[in-house]
């Protein structure tokens, strides 16, 4: 489903605008990321897109058609997971999915098939009769997303879905979203963990104070803001001084040094792409530095975001 926002605005009191002048195109079948600090208007935008909040101005088009006065039909094509939506703790996953499937008026037989399939897809079949309150956080989050997909929507809207998840659950979430996208569903996701959106999203939009700052393909935005640096964290077993000596000769900027779990740590910005980092690592190893790990700590998207924030401050 392709979604288009034209000059969308929302005010709750006729004076202060939660969002204003928001014009966006969300391509069909893409994963679209919405980025912004708290209070930027992300949740309001997502709730308008989920048709649970009416915009004060502007228009919203789903597959080119304007939002009808009675949005219940379009909601049949949307799955929405708002921020902080809990489960019914006493319901089992199967009961929970059945409940929401019936709220989407799915026929009984189709609903039972969908429940079985969804439980398998989300790896919850083994817990189908366990009360939701007894599931792990990752499982609960999977169940919440499964609920949004039980009626086979064309548009999946997730507000901060990775919030509070451990790395394993985040990884599961990524694969679920990619699988969902592969089925032709348009996915709209907001998150503050930008390094995950970086690799996941096809397109992003950055909001600040209710206004759209930038939107488009991730790579184009990164290039447009001339962000060609990567930030890495090196943990070395020995030879920290030697490492700093070698790094002085490379196109890097050492941001900080320190210690982590008893090992010296160096944070550095690399000017260039990942090949540049590979060359630096080779030089360090050849120079006798015993590198334990080299991990990326910040994405390009995050740099774009930080830069935009700096501009805002300036």
């Amino acid at each position: 489903m392709q979604v288009e926002l034209r000059d969308l605005g929302k005010t709750y009191d006729g004076d202060a605008w939660a969002i204003r002048g928001l014009t966006l195109q969300i391509p069909s079948g893409s994963i679209f990321g919405l980025i912004g600090p708290n209070g930027a208007g992300k949740s309001t935008t997502l709730r308008i897109l989920a048709t649970v909040v009416s915009p004060s101005e502007g228009s919203l088009l789903f597959d080119g058609a304007p939002l009808p006065a009675d949005p219940s039909a379009i909601r049949q094509k949307i799955g929405f997971l708002g921020d902080g939506n809990p489960l019914y703790k006493h319901m089992t996953p199967a009961e929970y999915l059945r409940f929401f499937g019936q709220c989407y008026r799915l026929p009984a037989r189709a609903l039972e098939d969908a429940i079985e399939e969804t439980l398998l897809t989300f790896d919850l079949a083994g817990k189908r009769d366990t009360p939701s309150g007894e599931l792990s956080k990752g499982m609960r989050q999977r169940l919440l997303i499964a609920r949004c997909l039980i009626h086979r929507p064309k548009l999946l809207i997730l507000d901060e879905p990775a919030d509070g998840l451990d790395p394993r659950s985040r990884s599961d979430l990524r694969s679920i979203l990619l699988k969902t996208k592969a089925q032709g569903v348009t996915v709209l996701v907001s998150s503050h963990i930008l390094r995950e959106l970086d690799d996941l999203c096809d397109d992003v939009a950055i909001l600040q104070r209710g206004r759209l700052v930038v939107a488009g393909r991730v790579q184009e935005i990164v290039q447009g803001y001339e962000v060609s640096r990567l930030v890495y964290r090196l943990r070395v077993l020995s030879g920290q001084d030697r490492a700093l000596e070698i790094l002085q000769r490379e196109r890097v900027l050492v941001e900080s040094t320190g210690e982590e779990e008893g090992l010296p740590v160096i944070n550095l910005q690399v000017q260039g792409d990942e090949a540049a980092m590979a060359d630096i690592l080779a030089a360090l190893v050849q120079g006798g530095v015993r590198v334990v790990t080299a991990s990326r700590v910040r994405s390009r998207l995050e740099d774009v975001y930080n830069r935009l924030s700096d501009d805002q401050v300036n």
């Binding site: 009191d13 006729g14 649970v52 929405f80 319901m91 929401f100 019936q102 989407y104």
Partner: protein, 609 residues
């Protein structure tokens, strides 16, 4: 999809949720147990010989009280054969000393002494042709016993007797027939199997009323409070269910357990009514019960939705149970034992009208058998109340719908709120028809003013454009809303005057001081309603709002004083606290200015930083 199909599919998820797991089995078991309990209770109350069962039967006029029977039939009723044998032996001794038993004074002697006194009265009281023979017979018994025919001491015996009073004549004739020797009976319930059927049906009706008017609304209100409290309502608003369908679905899900438990009670009621009762009254009782359940459920859901975010569902549930329970008790008292003066309550309390009709279907109140006018008034009160509460219930549904849609528009339109105000005014005035003229007429009028403040404040809150705006950002059209409240108050005044049609003292309602205090009272009520609905309440503001609400009531005694006919023109009554001390009078004047001003100030939109 037809509207009915849409509603059916909307209710399905909530009904399925209510019955998931083993819930249906448990509810059916409960339903069966309650049915068995109803039959057991019915049989016990009908045939039980204990004091409690006897008291219940007497209270519902199913049997004559023991005291009344002892008096009128000249019997001594005891609880056991042993006691009867003892009294029988005592009676033998007492009869031999009819003039005056010596020694200790027993129940038999007391009864015989009362009998002698009655015969003396009967022998000397005025008679006519139909009672002259009875009076002579009384005299003969006294003569045979050698007792002088003197009028008894009015200080120690009945100070009154007359042959034209049915009970007196019945008592005298019983004593004559028994030749001054009372009979002794062991108490047994006088009721029959038909009565058992009737009482079982009445108990089923009682359980039904309890389920419909207390437990149904309680579950509906608590459930929505829980949905709001745990933020599980929000995802439901994003499904294909429209807001109205969602509310009706939630209500259906909450009421289904009640319906399952209540179903056998309905069958019991209808079956017993078909056998020994009045089916129309029973069906009427069911209709008023269902409409009352709808109204109270909407009210409870509104409370649950409004307060669910701030209070735990448990606290709200207990509060609702207290509120509904108290209403239920009051309604049952007025409904089961109405008087001509309290028939109006049927318009306001569905508990009262339901209890009245369900009782009337099986155990009609004696008042209505002898007083066709009262029966007519009761019917009108029930019909008007049911229609009125149905309208208010629909307005509640509309309000909830808009609250759940979280539109920025008010929960009620101006017209809807006006309709609600008119209906509330009529129901309250009809429930409590005061007379400005006559004894304590102003008290009724003032009581109505106090009562009407509740629905008016609630309706005004529904007129505040809340939407999903943060409380501090809400724009409140204070003047326009107070204008609407003024119109409602005017309508209420007109309704009160219309009811006083023909009473010249109605003009007292326009007494300037009374009008001033009435206007001040409604203004403060309105500002309080807007303050609570539109702005956040901290601890200090809560205390101030509570104080202001109590202080607003000071207007009522002033209104009552100044609409009283011939009140004079005593300026001391302008500010009543001033009668206690001039300082308190000054405090009253200051507070009457400060209270509305502070409320008004809080409603002004805070400056944006």
């Amino acid at each position: 999809m037809s509207r009915l199909d849409a509603l059916r599919t909307a209710a399905l998820p909530f009904v399925t949720r209510s019955l998931r797991g083993g819930r249906l089995r448990r509810l059916l078991s409960l339903s069966l147990m309650l049915s068995v309990l109803t039959v057991i209770l019915g049989t016990w109350i009908t045939f039980g010989d204990g004091d409690f069962e006897e008291d219940v039967r007497v209270a519902f006029d199913l049997e004559e009280s023991r005291w009344s029977r002892q008096q009128n039939d000249y019997v001594i009723i005891v609880d056991s054969d042993e006691e009867a044998a003892l009294l029988q032996a005592e009676l033998g001794r007492a009869v031999y000393s009819l003039d005056r038993a010596t020694g200790y004074y027993t129940q038999t002697q007391s009864t015989i002494d009362d009998g002698i006194a009655t015969l003396r009265w009967a022998a000397t009281a005025n008679t006519d042709r139909s009672t002259a023979d009875d009076a002579r017979a009384a005299q003969q018994i006294l003569d045979r016993a050698g007792l002088p025919t003197i009028a008894p001491d009015s200080q120690t015996t009945w100070s009154w007797f007359n042959w034209y009073t049915e009970e007196h004549a019945r008592r005298a004739r019983s004593i004559i027939a028994k030749n001054l020797v009372p009979t002794i009976e062991v108490y047994h319930s006088p009721l029959s199997t038909v009565d058992a059927v009737r009482i079982t049906g009445a108990i089923a009706g009682g359980f039904l009323g309890l389920l419909l008017l207390v437990f149904g609304p309680l579950l509906a209100g608590t459930q929505i409070a829980q949905e709001v409290h745990e933020n599980t309502l929000q995802p439901l608003t994003g499904t294909s269910l429209r807001a109205r369908e969602l509310i009706l679905g939630l209500t259906a899900g909450a009421l289904l357990p009640v319906a399952i438990v209540a179903a056998p009670q309905v069958l019991l009621l209808l079956a017993t009514v078909a056998f020994v009762g009045h089916p129309i009254a029973a069906v009427g009782g069911l209709v008023t019960g269902v409409v009352g359940c709808f109204f109270l459920s909407m009210l409870a859901q509104l409370l649950g939705h409004t307060l669910g975010a701030q209070r735990s569902p448990g606290v709200l549930g207990v509060s609702l149970l207290g509120f509904l329970g108290v209403l239920g008790i009051i309604g049952a008292v007025f409904g089961l034992n109405p008087t001509r003066a309290t028939l109006g309550v049927f318009t306001l309390l569905p508990e009262a009208s339901t209890a009245h009709l369900l009782r009337s279907s099986l155990i009609p109140h004696p008042m209505f058998a002898h007083d066709a006018c009262a029966a007519h008034s009761a019917d009108w009160a029930v019909v008007l109340g049911t229609v009125g509460l149905g309208v208010l219930g629909l307005l509640g549904l509309r309000t909830l719908q808009r609250r759940i849609e979280r539109t920025s528009a008010p929960a009620l339109t101006r017209g809807e709120a006006l309709l609600g105000a008119v209906v509330s005014s009529l129901l309250i005035v009809l429930a409590n028809p005061g007379r400005v003229s006559g004894y304590s007429g102003e008290a009724y009028y003032v009581l109505n003013l106090a009562l009407i403040a509740v629905p008016f404040a609630a309706l005004l809150m529904m007129r505040v454009p809340v939407g999903d705006a943060p409380a501090t950002l809400r724009r409140v059209p204070t003047a326009a809303l107070l204008g609407e409240l003024g119109l409602w108050a005017l309508i209420q005044g007109i309704a009160a005057v219309a009811l006083e049609h023909g009473h010249h003292e109605s003009s007292m309602l326009l007494q300037p001081v009374a009008v001033f205090y009435t206007a001040w009272y409604f203004a403060v009520v309105g500002l309080l309603a807007l303050r609570v609905a539109a702005r956040p309440l901290g601890l200090a503001s809560r205390i101030w709002v509570a104080f202001a609400a109590v202080f607003a009531l000071i207007a009522l005694p002033h209104v009552g004083r100044w609409i009283r006919p011939y009140h004079g023109s005593d300026v001391d009554h302008l500010f009543m606290l001033g009668q206690a001390s001039p300082f308190l009078g000054l405090v009253q004047v200051i507070l009457m200015v400060v209270v509305p001003l502070t409320l008004l100030r809080a409603l002004r939109r805070p400056a944006r930083g």
